[in-house]
């Protein structure tokens, strides 16, 4: 196309500046949300990965156990293998810091003579304390209380060489002396290093290690070495490459990241719908102009290219704005919340903003794609018009005569239903997302048929304005399509998310009720950290006045299945206590001699291991595999990797471990929890243990839940905002293009206010139809989210609930806002100008 001819098309964007600006804004917001989510996650992942690479150092392979670790005898066996050139044992402990609520520090106990060969970046450096007379002895590194902090840890804890760091071991505070630093640890990696023997002693982990980093002998392949080593490892211990370990850690957040990306994509899709509305209106308004260009000899292909180029230009410029906005949003997010968007996967990770050329390009292209997709159908409509007819004035109504598309409209959700039944691909609900898209398309396609259908069934109230509005929408349903498409899309998204989040929250609430039956909870640290309650402490608490009985819970991580992935073992009383939130099986299975002990597995574990009630599961305990029978499947929203519950008595007898992480206290009737809390504070563990009432725990967990969905709410709000933009631009454009019609109505005696009311009624009716379809579509999407996407992504189920009051309030607000927006947007059409416009026909 002649470059001058591009100008004919692109200049029209400038002519309708408001619509162009809103389309740009919609695309920019969609791109910005999507890209910033990606940038934040990419930076956080990168930081996490960098941390893991630092810890893996130059290792070819890693032998990894679960958090509790495995016997260091394994190290001796492995180190002597001919495949192994260097082996470096590591004990990793998440040490709880007693004076900081729930905060932990990763402490690596390393063999200082071995680590230099494999993970040199972890080597500590002795520093002389400020003000000390003599220079520090290099052998300080081997002292049992010496700990070395990375620069980030030193900064965040505010500790320098010579100062004391207190860490919790059980309910005992262990004072460690900061003897220097780990200078090679990255600026953002908060960690501590100490001698492995000292770490084992300080944290009561004698004879245990959690990892062995290996360098292989020259000429030995990783695959072969891994196979041979696997054969000599005890159950529950895995051999993996550092890349495997990294992908295992990063894979945990994959579903969450993809879900956020999909949400952002829907915001961009809504932006595309807005471009569609704006372009369709523009094509209708320029019908004569385009027909004239055709008469002058503009061929159809060039016309189509020109109109699609308008959409592409909108997408490109919107995309550029979006990219800039995304980087600003990301910088803001890093400054305010760090790398975690609420779900906790990247808590404590402090990534820094970096330019990501490929991601940026992808989102720029997506912006252009949204613009092109939005302009596609209007361009096709323009190319199909008959120039000779379109040259005549008044032909605009032709363009609004959108035929119903019942077949496609009903086929889409049916196909969506079929797709929703298909299994995930690579653990991702690809067909679920496609089903969501199809439902959305179906809801939008219902608009042209549904609008006249609804209008024909509206009672004639005798109001002239209502009659005029009904007549207009019945005769020109295309107008409803143009105005309503954004409403349907954004309402469907908002409604689906509202239903899903409400269902989820309700299910979490029920789940908490079942999981928190005690009157008071006690713990030394989070389940993965170094605090625990020993039997003596538990016994002391159980004997306190007012305590009727206690329910101990032990959390342990184990590696399971052929891939030996890490999951949680929960040992607690089940049959003698209040239950688990079961979705299958029983809490009280029949017992008998020779029957394997019972196990209750979480939904995630059932999915991952494809296990069902009645089958058996082998759990590695104390270095040996023990067979259990699956007697129930329970709902667990806390552990996405999977969890298995066994009776604490079975656990204790098989593992010999008598430690407790959480203690639930059932109080005698009439006992105030506060008095028991005071007694515990006075007599047990010197105030180190954490105590929570179930109501506090519930509030804390629901707060975390709400924080997790904060980003979701934000995206929802943006999508609804974009939908309202759609209503506003459409009615502004419609009002302008109907100036003559309004002029005639003014001549016939309608007052300016009544024209405004007419526009508001049309907008309210259009939006009402859109909202009803949005509610139906949103309900269907929520069903897909609840029944397909959530179980396939996160392996958890929930009970569907309808937030009726919220949905009613939302629908009415949207209709009211749309009416108001249309009234404001049509202000120009109600001016004196409209009366004069009639004269153009005289």
């Amino acid at each position: 196309m002649n470059s001058a001819l591009w100008y004919v098309f692109l200049a029209s964007l400038w002519r309708r500046r408001l619509a162009t600006a809103l389309s740009l804004l919609a695309i920019a917001l969609g791109v910005a949300l999507g890209l910033s989510v990606q940038l934040i996650n990419a930076a956080a992942l990168d930081e996490l990965g960098r941390g893991m690479r630092l810890l893996a150092g130059e290792a070819d392979l890693q032998i990894a156990g679960a958090q509790r670790g495995f016997s260091d005898a394994v190290y001796l066996r492995v180190a002597q293998r001919p495949e192994v050139a260097q082996a470096s044992p590591v004990l990793e402990v998440r040490a709880r810091l007693p004076d900081r609520e729930d905060e932990t520090l990763r402490v690596f106990g390393i063999d200082l003579f071995r680590a230099g060969q494999v993970t040199p970046l972890l080597l500590p450096e002795v520093e002389t304390p400020v003000g000390a007379d003599a220079e520090a002895d290099p052998l300080t590194v081997l002292e049992p209380d010496a700990v070395f902090l990375s620069p980030a840890a030193s900064r965040s804890l505010g500790l320098a060489a010579g100062e004391t760091l207190g860490v919790l071991s059980g309910v005992r505070v262990e004072p460690l002396r900061v003897a220097g630093s780990v200078p090679a640890a990255g600026a953002e990696q908060a960690l501590a290093v100490m001698d492995i023997a000292a770490a084992q002693q300080r944290f009561d982990r004698l004879g245990q290690i959690t990892r062995i980093d290996l360098r292989l002998a020259p000429g030995v392949g990783r695959q072969l070495a891994a196979e041979r080593l696997r054969a000599i490892l005890p159950p529950g211990v895995a051999v993996m490459t550092p890349a495997d370990a990294e992908s295992e850690a990063l894979g945990l957040s994959r579903a969450y990241r993809i879900n956020l990306t999909m949400l952002a994509a829907i915001a961009l899709l809504t932006g595309g719908f807005l471009v569609f509305s704006s372009q369709l209106l523009s094509v209708v308004r320029r019908r004569q102009e385009l027909a004239f260009l055709r008469a002058l000899g503009l061929d159809r292909a060039t016309l189509w290219r020109g109109l699609v180029a308008e959409g592409a230009a909108l997408g490109l410029v919107g995309g550029v704005f979006g990219v800039v906005l995304a980087y600003l949003l990301t910088a803001l997010a890093f400054a305010v919340v760090g790398g975690d968007l609420g779900a906790g996967f990247f808590r404590g990770v402090s990534p820094s903003l970096r330019f990501e050329p490929l991601l940026t390009l992808v989102y720029l292209v997506l912006g252009v794609f949204a613009g092109v997709a939005g302009a596609w159908l209007p361009a096709r409509e323009a190319v199909r018009m008959v120039p000779a007819r379109a040259l005549r004035s008044g032909d605009e109504s032709e363009a609004y005569r959108a035929p119903p598309r019942w077949t496609l409209a009903f086929a889409s959700p049916i196909l969506a239903g079929v797709l929703a039944l298909l299994p995930p691909i690579g653990g991702m609900p690809v067909f679920g997302y496609l089903a969501v898209l199809l439902v959305l398309i179906g809801a939008v396609l219902l608009l042209p048929g549904a609008t006249p259908w609804v209008m024909a069934r509206l009672q004639d109230s005798g109001s002239t304005l209502l009659r005029l509005a009904r007549a207009r929408l019945s005769a020109a349903p295309g107008q409803a399509v143009v105005a309503g498409v954004g409403v349907v899309a954004s309402a469907a998204l908002a409604v689906s998310m509202a239903i899903m989040v409400y269902s989820f929250r309700g299910s979490v609430d029920d789940w908490l009720t079942q999981l928190l039956p005690a009157d008071l909870y006690l713990r030394a640290s989070s389940s993965s950290a170094s605090g625990y309650l020993d039997p003596a402490v538990v016994a002391r608490v159980a004997e306190l006045p007012g305590v009727a009985r206690v329910r101990p819970v032990r959390f342990e991580s184990i590696r399971l299945g052929p891939e030996r992935f890490e999951m949680t073992l929960i040992a607690r009383p089940v049959r003698s206590s209040t239950g688990l939130p079961l979705v299958a099986g029983t809490l009280r299975p029949p017992t008998g001699a020779g029957t394997p002990p019972p196990a209750w597995i979480s939904e995630a574990l059932a999915d991952r291991l494809r296990l069902a009630v009645g089958e058996s599961i082998s759990l590695p305990l104390a270095g040996r595999l023990h067979s259990f029978r699956v007697v129930g499947v329970w709902r667990d929203y806390a552990r996405q990797r999977g969890a298995v519950v066994i009776e604490i008595e079975d656990y204790r007898s098989l593992s010999g471990d008598r430690r407790t992480n959480d203690l639930g206290l059932f109080l005698a009737s009439g006992t105030e929890p506060e008095s028991v809390m005071a007694a515990i504070r006075d007599s047990v563990a010197g105030g180190v243990v954490q105590m929570r009432l179930p109501s506090e725990l519930r509030a804390m967990i629901l707060e975390i839940f709400d924080r997790t969905f904060l980003v979701t709410y934000l995206m929802e709000a943006v999508a609804v905002l974009i939908g309202l933009f759609g209503v506003s631009t459409t009615f502004a454009a419609l009002a302008t293009s109907r100036r003559k019609e309004f002029g005639i109505l003014r001549h016939l005696g309608l007052r300016r206010r009544q024209i405004g009311a007419l526009l508001a009624i049309e907008a309210a009716l259009t939006t009402a139809v859109g909202v009803v379809l949005g509610l139906a579509g949103g309900g269907a999407i929520a069903l897909i989210l609840v029944e397909v996407i959530n179980p396939q992504s996160f392996h958890w189920s929930m009970d569907m609930r309808l937030p009726v009051a919220v949905l009613v309030a939302f629908s009415l607000s949207l209709i009211l806002l749309a009416a108001l927006t249309a009234r404001l947007a049509g202000h120009q059409a109600m001016s004196q100008d409209a009366v004069l416009a009639v004269r153009e026909d005289w």
Partner: protein, 222 residues
């Protein structure tokens, strides 16, 4: 040379008699003809048929020896770009282009670069007395000025035929006469063929010949 022989046009799938039939007309370069007729007889449709914007149901149209009736959509668009100019009652001036750009539009469609096209458009605007307004926007023009822009645009690419559909329908008689003199004068000077559809006897009087379109064909006006 424009030659129309036995042209017939019906409404699609209509059992009614054709809109018009046996329309024949031959015009040589530099000649202009005014076509009059009752409302609904198909005057504008005849112009659309000549422009290849509406299909015909019988007969043939040939322009400079090229048979229009056998051409496909793209070939017809190409022919319109090169050989036809249009002046309508509603001038269809694009509101987002200034006057020079509006006039240059047919040249842009022919692939002429923006610079030379702009130069020729300004020269053309000079010929219609609007040289000083070349950079103005259409919204600042009066009805007569708008029609002069449309005339400049219709002639800038030196078309073989200029089709004019009620070009002065919006103007008072005095202004209409001025515009028609300018329009037909320029058509003659350019050696083009002018076909003018009008209701106005006075307007038709500016053409070399006056014909009346009936359902049965073109007849000389009395």
């Amino acid at each position: 040379m424009l030659s129309i022989e036995n042209l017939t046009k019906r409404f699609a799938a209509s059992p009614e008699p054709p809109l018009f039939e046996k329309v024949s007309l031959a015009l040589v370069p530099g000649e202009s003809v005014a076509i009059m007729g009752d409302s609904g007889v198909g005057k504008s449709t005849l112009l659309n048929c000549i422009a290849g914007l509406e299909p015909v149901d019988g007969g043939r149209i040939a322009l400079r020896g090229v048979e229009l009736t056998g051409l496909d959509e793209d070939a017809l668009a190409g022919l319109r770009r090169r050989e036809l100019g249009f002046v309508f009652q509603a001038c269809h001036i694009l509101p987002h282009l200034n006057l020079a750009q509006n006039v240059a539009l047919p040249l842009w469609l022919l692939g002429v670069a923006k610079g030379p096209a702009d130069e020729r458009a300004r020269a053309m605007l000079e010929q219609v007395g609007l040289a000083s307004r070349a950079d103005d926007w259409p919204r600042h023009l009066s009805g007569g000025e708008t029609q002069r822009v449309a005339i400049a645009r219709a002639l800038i690419h030196e078309p073989g035929v200029v089709l004019c559909d009620e070009p002065t329908g919006n103007l008072d008689p005095e202004r209409a006469a001025g515009v028609l003199e300018l329009l037909l004068g320029r058509i003659r000077e350019a050696g083009a063929i002018g076909i003018l559809v009008t209701h106005s006897r006075a307007a038709a009087g500016h053409a070399d010949r006056i014909l009346r379109l009936t359902h049965g064909g073109l007849i000389a006006a009395s």
